[in-house]
């Protein structure tokens, strides 16, 4: 770990100014990912700006029915919030399937959005990695890529986005609220995380010194019937091989609307609008769910060690759809 300066801020503006004046500074919230990466020599900030005192700690319902989640709300608090459990169970389930209780008690919503990949080649500075050092090459392409992405990859990077929470947020069409030197703006969750393309090191749409202040969940009544399924190598404390976040609006056996997002398979949280559209107006049947799953994975580009993910992701999605659709 390199020596770094440390400061604490009490207001959003001072946080933003701190990063604006020191481009190599980083915000510190829960620290559950950043501190690890610093120990490994992967993140090397010159300054850590502790933002844990900022007034971004609450979950509130806005007049238009939007649920606003402060960026510093801890994953545990969010997962056990009664409004989340009742209206957006998929988000609560996704959060509780991630990490361990100790980590969830520290990790924040904003930090979870900024979580970096668990690709082993990213995590070991002895290997080439375009995400760490763009232009050095991607060791995962021809390496041990069992955990890597089959959707959204490029010749430069196939690292999987590790978050469970973000998969649920993708299904819920969440809005990320940010504040920066030029003021406030909103970013759709789908636009927040970027595909790696030829810039794997740039992972989000955040501009310099922009601070995530909140995540908004739009009103989505049928999200009360939603579910998160996660397949992994052990029962807890483990990233997804595949996962699926699903919400279904079913009336008289017909799907009126669907929300589908996949985890463990994409270089970003993977919303599948094509699969959603395919289901709309169709019978809520296992046969339709299988078709939707095939469509969701139709662009998959498996590699040597992760080809199983194509079939496993389909099955994971089918299980989620069957569970929400009441046929399991």
């Amino acid at each position: 770990m390199e020596a770094f300066a440390y400061r604490e801020v009490q207001a959003n503006r001072s946080a933003i100014e701190a990063l604006a004046t020191e481009p190599q500074a980083r915000f510190l919230a829960g620290g559950t990912n950043l501190v690890d990466l610093m120990k490994m020599g992967i993140e090397r900030p010159k300054t850590l700006v502790n933002i844990n005192s900022l007034p971004l700690q609450s979950i509130t319902v806005l007049p238009n029915g939007v649920l606003r989640i402060g960026a510093l709300v801890r994953n545990s608090d969010l997962a056990y919030d009664e409004r989340i459990r009742a209206s957006y169970p998929v988000l609560s389930e996704a959060l509780l399937s991630g990490a361990s209780p100790q980590l969830r008690n520290m990790a924040t919503v904003g930090g979870n959005l900024m979580q970096r990949t668990r690709c082993p080649y990213f995590y070991d500075v002895a290997f080439a990695c375009n995400k760490r050092n763009n232009g050095s090459g991607c060791s995962a392409l021809e390496g041990f890529n069992r955990g890597n992405a089959i959707l959204g990859g490029s010749d430069h990077c196939i690292s999987t986005h590790p978050s469970d929470m973000c998969v649920a947020l993708a299904a819920l069409d969440a809005i990320v609220q940010v504040e920066g030197p030029k003021g406030e703006r909103s970013i759709r969750i789908q636009d927040f995380h970027l595909l790696p393309e030829d810039h794997p090191q740039k992972e989000t749409d955040l501009g310099p010194a922009e601070l995530i202040t909140a995540v908004d969940l739009p009103n989505l009544p049928f999200a009360a019937k939603s579910h998160y399924v996660k397949v992994r190598d052990r029962a807890s404390y483990e990233f997804a091989l595949t996962s699926a976040a699903v919400a279904l609006d079913i009336m008289d056996g017909t799907v009126r609307a669907a929300r589908i997002a996949l985890g463990g398979v994409g270089t970003k949280p993977w919303r599948s609008t094509v699969a959603e559209q395919l289901l709309m107006g169709k019978p809520a049947s296992e046969a339709q769910y299988k078709t939707a799953a095939n469509v969701a994975l139709q662009d998959a580009q498996p590699r040597k060690y992760n080809s199983f993910k194509v079939e496993l992701a389909k099955r994971t999605l089918i299980r989620a759809l069957l569970t929400v659709g009441g046929m399991v």
């Binding site: 390199e2 668990r118 995590y123 041990f144 190598d233 199983f308 994971t316 399991v328």
Partner: protein, 774 residues
């Protein structure tokens, strides 16, 4: 007698452990201590062309940077049949040469005034290599596989009868290949050493399973007398075999401390442990079973191909237990080795038995379905009433009872034998079983017991407590022998100044150190009794020694409990500050012929009176053990649920019934079997070390990528013991229990998965991708 042996008393060190009072190697604080950080190679083979350490040296607080260019020179330790002087990698003395043999080899150490500065400086060292083509996958080198000679004195190749004739005579054959991956011990406590020189004398605080092995190895490498080295290791946070033979880091710490003239603490990171502190090597095991239609074996063959490094010949002896598991007229065991540019393998909990029983016990399961015979029945049909390899009687074997009790506890009778026939909700349910086995090892040990004037006791032996409960069971043995309550007894271990104890490996500590401790305690008691008999002020004056018993601190007449007095009273009247006895027992059950675990002859054993006044080991030493074969057996039963859509396996119920002779402490024994089963569950379902296919560098080098079971993976584990004393192993009849719990466990799960799904997975671990692709 107190009858304290066998009672499930709490760990005597439990309070220290849960309050943080137990001090582990890295927790000792010495004045003026400096901190070392290791640098490891990032290529798998080649030479170091140059190392630029200038930036590292320039970091504030850095005291020294040692590389092959400037590190003190080491001596090559002599060949040592006792393995006491043995570096884990005998052909790689650390920091001596520019040659790289595997990725993750130590190539430099930085010493600084803080750990953080040392680590920061380490990242600034620039290494240029001349790489060479490395061979690190077994499949790349199978043509160079050679027959191994031995595994710690046991012959690596053996046969009985005529295997070819056995196959020819078989009505049903089962020939399959099973694969186990590289696995890592991953003890909770990282490997750690503090080295402190005082003139020519070196004190080492080390996390080790073998205090005296570390002392001898470090002394021989440094070229100094072992008398000048003291090794201290009061608590070890798990070893599982990875802290048995000494790795390079303790001697590196000693070199670093010598160089900077300060105590040096060296703690390996989790990532560094993966390449530099051993592993269980990958195995490819071909099993051949031949049987009659009735299910009687005509032949058992077991051919293992496994890997070692280019700097050490370690053999994972997967076929060793196959020689003794079942009664078959013909048997063949072969072990082949391939040398690779990987870190060096070493014993890992039940080395050989854990990997080997996965293959053999899976193959038996496959055969049972071919024969349409219940898997338990197949094992009973081929039950070995005596050691099939040597025709010796067992010292004690109750395996049939293990099968019976295990089957009852898991409700085997309600199992529908048809694969994929049992459903529970959306899950497929399945039952599997396997035999567990581990040798009943015992070797020489010494111990000392002192009864102090106040009637309290200090007992000691240079053994180790690697989390198994040694402190507790030794205290129980002393308590029972003296009739003094556990609370008044202090047991000391983990210090090379104490009487000599063996390595805490091979599940032998209880069986080996226990008798020495017992003999010393009985001898000390005898001395106190004699003191009382000779003392005319004592109510015991003039009585015979065998009339006197002891309990609750008191020595008294067996037929008149009112006539007696306490230890403190007896010693209080005498002029001696304490009464002590030191005993050595030289009994061994380790095999000598190279064939089997056979006990020592009567005249080879014998307790030695080491000037310490040992009277009491006579009956132990006079047992003629040569005719017996010493092995523990058990039965493992698993129930699993498999999600057929997603390929996820959950173990939902577990029963282990173990025959380990007499149980010394039900709590610590149960704890050992539970730990073994959990490790076996990890082996079955998730543990696997993976090397980058292009560079041979481990890519699963932390606990996020190397999966060990978490609480949510573990079902209720029902551990039962037969608890019949082994009449020949030692006076209290107890064999070891540290390793048997993992044996058979992976096969029981694989067999249960087959029963649930009809899918046979022959390569561990059984992960969702394998089940959905089958």
């Amino acid at each position: 007698m107190n009858e304290i042996i066998g009672k499930p008393i709490d760990r005597v060190d439990g309070r220290l452990k849960v309050t943080g009072g137990a001090r582990y190697a890295a927790e000792f604080q010495l004045p003026n201590m400096a901190y070392a950080y290791l640098v490891q190679s990032t290529i798998a083979k080649g030479r170091i062309r140059s190392m630029d350490v200038s930036k590292a040296v320039a970091v504030s607080g850095v005291l020294a940077v040692l590389t092959h260019e400037n590190a003190p020179r080491l001596k090559t330790p002599p060949e040592d049949k006792s393995f006491e002087s043995k570096l884990g990698e005998k052909d790689l003395l650390p920091l001596q040469r520019d040659q790289i043999y595997y990725d993750g080899q130590h190539i430099a150490v930085i010493v600084a005034d803080t750990f953080e500065r040392a680590r920061d400086a380490a990242s600034l060292i620039k290494v240029e290599y001349d790489p060479e083509n490395a061979v690190f996958q077994m499949e790349q080198a199978l043509s160079q596989a050679y027959e191994a000679k031995e595994s710690f004195g046991r012959k690596a190749q053996s046969r009985r009868g005529d295997p070819d004739a056995g196959f020819a005579a078989a009505s049903i054959k089962c020939e399959e290949t099973y694969i186990t991956p590289i696995e890592h011990h991953n003890a909770m406590e990282p490997h750690a050493t503090i080295a402190n020189w005082n003139g020519d004398e070196l004190t080492v605080y080390d996390s080790t399973q073998w205090v005296l092995g570390t002392r001898k190895s470090i002394a021989d490498l440094l070229g100094i007398s072992a008398e000048n080295v003291r090794v201290i290791s009061p608590f070890v946070g798990g070893g599982f075999g990875s802290k048995g033979f000494m790795w390079a880091h303790p001697v590196i710490a000693a070199m670093a401390a010598k160089t900077v003239g300060r105590p040096v603490k060296l703690v390996l990171t989790r990532q560094q442990m993966f390449s530099a502190t051993g592993h269980r090597p990958r195995t490819i095991q071909k099993i051949g079973l031949g049987a009659t239609r009735e299910g009687k074996f005509t032949v058992v063959s077991h051919r293992t191909t496994t890997q070692t490094s280019v700097v050490e010949e370690f053999l994972e002896p997967s076929g060793m237990s196959t020689r003794v598991l079942y009664d078959s007229p013909a048997m063949e065991v072969k072990h082949l080795l391939v040398r690779l540019n990987t870190g060096t393998p070493c014993p890992m909990r039940a080395p050989g038995e854990a990997s080997g029983t996965f293959a053999v016990e899976s193959a038996l399961d496959e055969l049972s379905y071919k024969l349409k015979i219940d898997p338990i029945q197949l094992r009973l049909l081929n039950y070995a009433d005596k050691n099939p390899q040597t025709n010796q009687p067992w010292s004690g074997k109750n395996l049939k009872q293990c099968y019976e009790r295990g089957a009852a506890a898991i409700n085997w009778a309600q199992r529908n034998p048809e694969p994929r026939s049992m459903r529970e909700g959306r899950f497929l349910a399945g039952y599997g079983m396997a035999t567990a086995t581990y040798p009943g090892n015992r070797s020489a040990a010494s111990a000392k017991v002192q009864v102090l004037r106040d009637g309290s006791v200090i007992a000691s032996s240079c053994t180790q407590d690697i989390g198994t409960g040694t402190y507790t069971i030794m205290t129980q043995i002393v308590s029972e022998a003296l009739g003094i309550p556990v609370a008044r007894i202090e047991f000391k271990l983990g210090d090379s100044k104490l009487p000599k104890g063996p390595v805490s490996g091979g599940s032998q500590t209880a069986a080996s150190v226990g008798p020495a401790v017992q003999a010393a305690a009985l001898s000390a008691r005898s001395k106190v009794v004699k003191l009382a008999i000779a003392d005319k002020d004592s109510p015991l004056h003039g009585r015979k020694e065998d009339e006197i018993v002891s309990k609750n601190d008191r020595l008294f007449l067996a037929d008149d409990t009112s006539k007696g007095e306490t230890y403190a009273t007896i010693l209080g009247r005498s002029q001696v500050p304490f009464i002590e006895a030191e005993c050595q027992t030289r009994v061994s059950t380790r095999e000598k012929s190279g064939d089997e675990n056979t006990g020592t002859k009567k005249n080879e054993a014998g307790a030695k009176e080491s000037g310490g006044g040992c009277f009491a080991a006579t009956s132990d030493e006079n047992v003629d053990r040569e005719q017996y074969s010493f092995h523990s057996f058990g039965a493992q039963f698993a129930k699993v649920q498999v999600d057929p859509l997603l390929g996820m396996v959950r173990v939902v119920k577990w029963v282990s019934v173990m025959d380990i002779g007499r149980v010394l402490n039900l709590k610590t024994a149960r704890n050992q079997v539970c730990g073994g089963v959990i490790m076996g569950l990890g082996m079955a379902l998730m543990e696997e070390t993976v090397l980058d296919p292009n560079r041979g560098r481990i890519v699963t080098r932390d606990l996020a990528n190397y999966h060990v079971p978490v609480h949510a993976d573990i079902p209720d584990i029902d551990v039962q013991f037969i608890d019949n004393p082994d009449p020949f192993i030692n006076p209290f009849g107890g064999r070891g229990v540290g390793e048997i719990g993992i044996t058979g466990a992976p096969a029981a799960i694989a067999n249960a998965v087959y029963h649930a799904t009809g899918i046979r997975i022959r390569e561990l671990p059984i992960t969702p991708d394998k089940l959905i692709s089958a």
